[in-house]
């Protein structure tokens, strides 16, 4: 493999703006959406429609549905979502750090070790608080 191909495998003109690399992604996106639209549209057109009120009611194991699904649900799902956002941001910091790590050397290692120590303190705190325990009843607080 020659070096030029490794640097710029799409072989665009040298001065071309980098955003051109994303144009095929846009094309793929449009095609994928068209595929989804065509599939849904085709089955809507080809399938027959013979509806009754019973048939259009939501599935509930064969019994008459009891109300709708707009109920409250366990708060643990919210907790997981919040904890995910916190730790996903941490993962987002790790990726660019990993890319430039060789240039940073021990300095980069020390910085990330301190950062991870702070993050892990929070992680241990929510662990002790029982956010990850799904089989214990929630504590009244």
């Amino acid at each position: 493999m020659n070096l030029l191909a490794a640097v710029n495998p799409n072989s665009l003109p040298a001065g071309a703006p980098y955003i051109l690399h994303y144009v095929p992604l846009l094309i793929q996106f449009i095609f994928a959406m068209a595929f989804a639209g065509l599939a849904i549209g085709a089955s809507w057109l080809l399938g027959r429609h013979r509806n009754t009120r019973r048939k259009l009611s939501p599935y509930e194991c064969g019994i008459t549905p009891e109300g709708d699904a707009r109920h409250r649900f366990a708060v643990k799902f919210y907790l997981v979502a919040i904890v995910f956002i916190l730790f996903d941001i941490e993962a987002v910091f790790l990726l660019p750090w990993a890319v430039v790590y060789r240039g940073l050397g021990w300095f980069g290692f020390a910085e990330m070790a301190i950062y991870l120590a702070i993050v892990m303190t929070g992680f241990l705190y929510i662990w002790k608080k029982g956010v990850f325990d799904w089989n214990t009843p929630e504590r009244a607080e």
């Binding site: 095929p24 429609h49 021990w106």
Partner: protein, 340 residues
């Protein structure tokens, strides 16, 4: 030779159409392979009637699903209900665009990679698009306005975000070794047989576990646990809308298999010989497909082998085991890289 913009766009268009056609037929046949292999594992034969060895079964299934009645239950939020399968399948097909299948080739005097487009943050793009995939599933469950769908989508949502964290953290190790998010450079860093599966075996195992959870496959298929939830988030979906969820699940399986091949198994590396067309195009593609097919077989094999987890076990495994171990792996890898 430098490429004019028109030719560049034309090649992109051709590659897009080709890759969509290949993906669609691949998904159909992975499904058939799964049915046949799981059947063998359970001492059955599986579908054999349509065409020789049942090879036309996917075609028959497609037509059957196209002709089925398309039901929109009366309680649904109809706009979102329609949009959810479209979101799922669009995102599933989008992430395949940055996956390189083989080396850069020279054809008709032009140079082009065996990939729809090569961007320098390919791995990050895949992670981003995969994490958007949770929207399709959560919207499907919520807009169906059915209890089983809602419970299934809640489970799917928190399962996918939990394991996505482990997935992202597991990939930091190989990125540290390669020093790039460009999938081609990650493959190039493994040249000469230095596959990242050996130094990063812990990251590989975490990635594999998280990949099963991300694609909602057994043993992590709680979102569609048929014993308790009907069919989970797609309970209320029928005809092609149901098929699109199926389609996107298999497309996601193919994507995570390809990423595992690229990041841990050296991509298209393997013994090559013979003339240029054989050693630069056919054999690399063969090795890539072989490695990806191994992962796809693993998905099927595990489905035929393991029972389903309980939800508290799933959450405990994700947060109490995979995330801390993945972080420890990042620290140890960075220590070793700094040492050298």
């Amino acid at each position: 030779m430098q490429m004019p913009l028109k030719i560049y766009l034309l090649i992109a268009l051709i590659k897009t159409v080709l890759s969509l056609a290949v993906m669609a037929s691949l998904i159909a046949y992975v499904q058939l392979a799964e049915r046949r292999i799981v059947a063998r594992m359970q001492s059955r034969v599986g579908p054999t009637r349509v065409g020789p060895w049942g090879l036309l079964q996917p075609l028959a299934d497609t037509f059957k699903l196209l002709l089925k009645e398309d039901i929109t239950p009366s309680q649904t939020s109809s706009g979102l209900y329609l949009l959810a399968p479209a979101i799922s399948v669009t995102l599933a097909l989008l992430s395949i665009a940055v996956i390189p299948f083989g080396p850069v080739i020279h054809i008709f005097g032009y140079t082009t990679p065996l990939q729809i487009t090569n961007i320098n943050v390919g791995l990050l793009f895949i992670l981003g698009v995969t994490s958007l995939g949770v929207y399709g599933i959560v919207l499907a469950g919520w807009s169906s306005n059915s209890k089983y769908s809602l419970l299934g989508s809640l489970r799917a949502g928190s399962q996918m975000v939990s394991y996505e964290l482990a997935l992202g953290l597991a990939l930091v190790g190989p990125v540290l070794l390669a020093g790039s998010l460009d999938l081609r450079k990650i493959v190039a860093a493994q040249a000469g047989g230095h596959w990242f599966i050996l130094p990063e075996i812990v990251a590989f195992l975490i990635y594999l576990t998280a990949a099963f959870a991300e694609t909602n496959r057994i043993p992590f298929d709680l979102p569609e646990a048929e014993g308790e939830l009907g069919a989970g988030y797609h309970t209320e979906y029928s005809a092609m809308k149901f098929a699109l969820f199926f389609f996107s699940e298999y497309a996601n399986m193919i994507t995570v298999s390809c990423v595992a091949t690229l990041v841990f198994l050296g991509g298209w590396a393997g013994p090559v010989f013979g003339p240029v067309w054989l050693s630069r195009i056919v054999l690399p593609l063969f090795w890539f497909c072989l490695k990806a097919a191994f992962f796809l077989f693993l998905f099927i094999w595990v489905r035929g082998t393991l029972p389903r987890f309980r939800y508290d076990q799933l959450m405990a495994l994700g947060w109490k085991v995979l995330v801390p171990v993945a972080l420890a792996n990042v620290l140890i890898t960075s220590l070793v890289v700094a040492w050298r």
